[in-house]
């Protein structure tokens, strides 16, 4: 390890780094703007200047930019030299000539890197007497505010947006001190990672528009570590909450990134960042509701919908307790429907309550089968589930059938980084340091091989070296052919036109050192998953080394649910049959739906059957939806940010999320409602009293670990609620949290006693441990002098390393099992009727909860149907034509979009979009297309 001297002190430092990141790693404060730990150095801002000395005799030294200076063994540097300090001050003074100094009205204020760096340089006296340049700001969509006058032109925004995230519609325009960072024309930013601009921008040019609507300063936010619930990647987040205006209940204000080296690193997707607002939306359930029978209107009754009225929670709990009691006496059948978006604890609690035989996964059989396939594949010792840094370092990638840009956006961003690995290798050969970003990027643009096979264009097409579009069968056949080629066999079932491509891809994958295969549940095709597994195991066999295979699940706890529900026959499709049998036994049935919207899971007819066959429908959920409308009893369940729980991501990593604030109204965790009911249950037995005794999240974790040995890690994830550091719990509020006595002063001047968190050693107050280095539960990343998120480096093991005191989650320990040899499915002969409907995912619209966040709802596309250009021509369909699709018993109206990539005879239909949910539950399936007649008429 090289040794360097900084201001007379010797340090052993990591080789190959630049001086700036070295200084920061060593804890030496050095101001900077353009450098970013994930994006490297470009030397633009000149803020990180230090003095470099030639040798011990050199007392004058030379000013160098530390971000552009490779450290060398024996190097002599000074950060504190007067000349360097003076120069750094001059940079601040230069930057401030046009900065409006509008900190009091700027939303960045209090977490502004520019404020921090200005303070750090110690420059206080601005001598500029001229006018300031002003810019016109742009409308950039519902997520991002634009205030260009604050810009200090560090170029981080365009470097992130274009270079890192592959966006094209934000650029540096103009030159000199008029340089403008914006779009050529006003409009919604197109890239799905635009929200990171808020964190990447060192000042208040790009701020969170959704946060603006209920803005408070960073120091007034209460926060705790959380997990993004909008897909199965498991990104770590730091949501912030603060008392609201009405009723002073805490409300969720925003979500920002919480660094997790193995998953999200420094960046979140826009669905994860802006999807949070569903918890504040009008559809949110905050009270206990019971169906009323007195005021039902006929048409509503005909739809089976109920009119609900609020009832006291006690009454509802007692009703549920009665149901439990009847079930215990064998007079009632209790069915539980779990959910992939509910935590392990909630699913487990319901499963215990109703018994494993009566616990249904809350998924259609097909989706449950896919999850079981994923689980089975991941158990094979030849398969390795890669972390984000591993994905980024892959040197050849095949994406089979999965549109990861939309189903696992953060993984897509990682793939985008992998596309530059040839460039990085070339840089190594030319001895250009990897961190010297612009110099690496100027190298030959020949990207690393990334092959994408999917239903239509993917968000990664711009970096794909080969593309294949086909139906699920064709993609699976292509995957099997690749597997055979890799295994050195002659493929049977690939059409000659694709054979050459298959040969080339298989050669590239075979020759690569770190191949990666990506697939997932989004394609909703078991054949594709099997083909991906065949391919990955073929590569593993060839290399005698496990092959990286990333399989995306669709929801935050999909894989967790699959662990609790291993019986493939416990799917929703089987529930009507089971309920009917029960009906014959003359026992009434109660169905408890846990945080699940059944109309998104199965076709309308099946959902209707479940609703009407159940004698009692009890729903615990976050939002009003089609299922709650049919319920007899509705309990308001806590959202991720309001509760603690465990989820398992696509990689089998169990992670815990913590309550950021107490949910408003009567909201509490679903398992607590169930435990309450057990506590009130007049019939007591061992089971009921065990459930009634659950008081802490930890109790459930223990129970899960006991019941499921493979999930043992769940009990070891985090400190229990009685854990203390120096006798203290961890504070959710910063030590500058304001108004704790004043905020309730209209009611009482006495200071409220903070609510006790029964689940975690975290307090809902400012009195406790504040240091992220002392507690993994600290989500408020802050350090003296570092008020912005840039404080993060203070808590990492080196730049880009792990959190020193981190809680990275634990991998569940699944018994390994080798996969069978899967053969390609035999394709049915003959012409099929109608069109093949293929599920198409969108970052905005396909996610259930995020679609209810107002900002995201405003950018969800109209329900569309992608139709091949030739099919469209044949049927005389133009873009924008209204079409109707019938599939099963459902019919949906959509707008035609012409596609050049969707296969002939197929239609791409949106998955999970509001109003057309049934399409998502059915595709891939055959459906009929009908042209809707435009209303003609008028005066002519």
């Amino acid at each position: 390890m090289p040794t360097i001297t900084i201001d007379g002190d010797d340090y052993e430092v990591e080789e190959g780094q630049n001086l700036l990141s070295t200084c920061l790693s060593l804890g030496i404060d050095l101001p900077y703007f353009c450098w970013h730990p994930a994006m490297g150095s470009v030397g633009a801002c000149r803020q990180c200047a230090v003095i470099e000395y030639k040798d011990a005799e050199d007392h004058r030294g030379r000013l160098v930019m530390s971000c552009m200076t490779p450290i060398k063994d024996g190097g002599l540097y000074s950060v504190t030299a007067e000349q360097a300090r003076e120069f750094r001050g001059s940079i601040i003074e230069d930057l401030m000539t046009n900065h409006p100094h509008d900190c009091p009205v700027c939303e960045e204020g209090g977490e502004c890197h520019l404020q921090d760096m200005t303070e750090m340089t110690g420059h206080t006296n601005r001598r500029y007497r001229g006018t300031k340049r002003t810019h016109r700001n742009q409308y950039l969509g519902p997520f991002i505010n634009h205030e260009m006058n604050r810009c200090i032109a560090c170029y981080r925004c365009t470097r992130f947006y274009r270079d890192y995230a592959g966006g094209t519609d934000l650029q540096a325009l103009g030159r000199n001190n008029q340089v403008y960072f914006g779009r050529q024309q006003e409009g919604v930013l197109e890239n799905g990672f635009s929200g990171n601009l808020v964190e990447v921008c060192p000042t208040g040019v790009f701020t969170d528009k959704t946060f603006s609507k209920h803005y408070v300063r960073k120091w007034d936010l209460q926060t705790a570590p959380s997990i993004c619930e909008h897909c199965a990647v498991g990104c770590n987040t730091a949501p912030g909450a603060r008392e609201g205006w009405d009723g002073k209940d805490q409300m969720l204000r925003r979500v920002i990134n919480l660094y997790h080296r193995e998953i999200n690193g420094y960046f979140l997707c826009d669905r994860g960042r802006f999807g949070y607002d569903y918890v504040n939306c009008d559809a949110r359930l905050k009270a206990v509701l019971a169906a009323r029978t007195d005021t039902l209107i006929e048409s509503t009754a005909a739809r089976g919908e109920r009119i609900h009225g609020e009832i006291p929670p006690r009454e509802a709990v007692e009703r549920l307790a009665q149901t439990l009691a009847q079930a215990q006496k064998g007079q009632r059948r209790l069915i539980g429907i779990g959910s992939p978006r509910a935590s392990l604890e909630n699913n487990f609690a319901l499963r215990q309550l109703v018994g494993p035989d009566n616990f249904y996964a809350g998924l259609a059989e097909r989706d449950l089968h896919l999850l079981h396939l994923v689980d089975a594949i991941q158990r094979d010792p030849r398969i390795h589930s890669p972390t984000t840094p591993e994905i980024e370092s892959a040197d050849a990638i095949l994406i089979l059938g999965e549109d990861i840009s939309n189903t696992a956006p953060r993984v897509g961003l990682a793939v985008r980084q992998a596309a530059r690995n040839r460039q990085r290798r070339q840089a190594r050969e030319l001895k250009i340091p990897q961190w010297q970003d612009a110099s690496v990027r100027q190298l030959d643009g020949d990207p690393s091989p990334i092959a994408v096979a999917g239903f239509e264009d993917s968000g990664l097409d711009d970096i794909a070296s080969s593309r294949f579009h086909g139906t699920p069968e064709e993609i699976a056949a292509f995957g099997h052919a690749l597997a055979q080629l890799i295994a050195g066999k002659q493929p049977a079932e690939v059409s000659p036109e694709y054979l050459e491509m298959a040969q080339q891809i298989s050669e590239t994958l075979s020759a690569s050192e770190r191949p990666l295969v990506i697939s997932g549940c989004g394609c909703r095709s078991g054949e594709i998953l099997q083909a991906a597994a065949q391919l990955a195991t073929a590569l593993a066999d060839r290399n005698s080394n496990p092959c990286a295979l990333y399989l995306t699940c669709l929801e935050v706890n999909s894989l967790g649910l699959a662990q609790l529900c291993t019986d493939g026959k416990k799917a929703l499709d089987h529930l009507p049959g089971a309920l009917r049998t029960e009906g014959e036994a003359k026992n009434p049935s109660s169905v408890i739906v846990l945080e699940n919207e059944l109309c998104r899971r199965v076709d309308t007819a099946t959902a209707d059957e479940i609703f009407s066959l159940a004698d009692e429908l009890i729903v615990l959920d976050l939002l009003h939806n089609l299922t709650t409308r049919r319920a007899d009893l509705v309990f308001p369940a806590a959202a991720t940010v309001e509760s603690q729980g465990t989820v398992i991501n696509s990689n089998g990593l169990a992670q815990c999320f913590y309550a950021v604030y107490e949910g408003p109204g009567f909201i509490q965790e679903s398992w607590r409602w169930l435990a309450d009911a057990a506590a009130f249950c007049p019939e007591s037995n061992a089971l009921i009293s065990t459930i009634a005794d659950w008081k802490h999240c930890h109790d459930l974790n223990q129970a899960i670990a006991e019941a499921f040995p493979e999930l043992e890690v769940v009990a070891e994830l985090g400190p229990d609620e009685d854990f203390r550091i120096d006798g203290l719990e961890v504070a959710r509020q910063s030590h500058r949290y304001s108004g704790r006595t004043a905020i309730y002063a209209d009611k009482s001047v006495a200071e409220h006693k903070p609510v006790k968190d029964p689940d975690a050693p975290l307090v809902f107050s400012m009195e406790g441990i504040q240091d992220p280095d002392k507690s993994p539960l600290q989500a408020n990343i802050w350090s003296p002098g570092w008020n912005s998120n840039q404080a993060l480096h203070k808590f990492l093991q080196g730049i880009g390393g792990k959190r020193r005191c981190g809680n990275g989650g634990r991998k569940i320990q699944r018994a390994s099992r080798s996969l069978p040899d899967w053969k390609p499915a035999v394709q049915p002969a003959g012409e099929a009727e109608g069109f093949l409907l293929l599920p198409i995912y969108r970052m905005f619209g396909s996610g259930e909860l995020s679609a209810m966040a107002p900002a995201i709802a405003s950018v969800i596309a109209q329900p569309f149907v992608l139709i091949n250009r030739h099919d469209a021509k044949r049927l005389d369909i133009d873009a924008g034509d209204p079409l109707e699709i019938t599939v099963g018993g459902d019919r949906c109206q959509l707008i035609a979009e012409i596609s050049d990539s969707i296969p002939f005879g197929s239609l791409g239909v949106p998955y999970g979009f509001p109003q057309v949910e049934p399409l998502g539950t059915e595709a891939p399936a055959r459906g009929q297309l009908h042209l809707l007649q435009l209303e003609t008429g008028g005066d002519q």
Binding site: R129, N176, S439
Partner: protein, 424 residues
Amino acid sequence: MLTNPLTKNIGPQNTAIDLAGYRAAGGYSGWRKALAGDPGDLVKMVQDAGLRGRGGAGFNTGLKWSFVPRGDDSPSIKYLVCNADEMEPGTFKDRLLMERDPHLLIEGMAIAAYAIEARTAYIFIRGEYHTATARLEKAIAEAREEGLLGENILGTGYSLEIHLHCSAGNYICGEETALLNALEGKRAVPRAKPPFPQVSGLWGKPTVVNNVETFCNIPHLIDLGVDWYKSLGRGEDAGTKLFGVSGKVKNPGTWELPMGTPIREIIEVHAGGMRDGLKLKGFLPGGGSTDFLGPEHLDLPMDYDAIGKSGSRMGTGTIIVLDDKTCPVGLVLNLTQFFARESCGWCTPCRDGLPWAVKILQRIENGEGRLEDIGLLQEQVRYMGPGNTFCALAPGAAEPIQSALKLFEQDFVEHIEKGCCPYL
């Protein structure tokens, strides 16, 4: 003996010499000679001849070429680029060469491309140089027609294409790495060095960028040899150079003269001396981004090192003369406005420091300055010093300001004390 290799084909008429005329005057014999030899020898020859880059930095051209990786292991694609984005204030030498003798440039580029084993070359020409563009286009076509460019040149198996690219207009494109970015269709922002373009240049390939005048030195150097070339200079440096004079002299213009010609001779003999009634107060020896020198430096030879030692730079060798009736503050303001406008906006001292300097100078010129503004200005130019900024634009822009503050401090003080420009 040939003493004016750069301008020997340039007559009084504003026309370009065509291929036939150029060949009749011995043109392309350097090219034939080069093609018969080993590329490595050419590099050595140019290096030995001591040809220094005429764009302003004065780096040994052959040495620059020698950094390009050679041999079978080296990248198969290499590029040669001609920097014809002549935008230095007060500089108009490349224009003359391109408009009047375009084949000289083409021949020089062909030899250079052959020497570095490049098969594609670009001329990045200033957008406003319409005449030069048209004449170069014609000349390139002529040379292709005759087999002097294109596939399998003169049966040697060597192929070379020269493409002409018109700049969209930006002073920073004269900075070789910003030029490369612009040529790639990116923002004209300089690149970090290292890596140098010779290792990773255009599209990440080894690339040599030379000035028009540098290339024009090559054909005769190759044709007539190192000794001849060295003998041309009068002082330390080899060869001849186009020197120019602008300002209130009797005969402003540009002339080919031996390196090392004394400044006094250029101004007094070739430019005819100051106009009647005017005295020389100072001069910028090599374009707008060089330090002012005073009358005491008139006897210096125009050699890179000699001018360098005096505290300025020879730059492009085109002298801007300041007389005693022209306001030096106004002159410096004018120059600084240009540089501030042309800053690419990449690094802070240049992007924000130069406009600030303009505002201070404007205030002083308007008679609204304060005495502390002089210190502030001095500080600003110090912060823009070499190494402090990303490229050489701001340090260059700082040179006339910092030297004017030294040489003409009294003028600045007078502006402030009188509350107006004393030259009005």
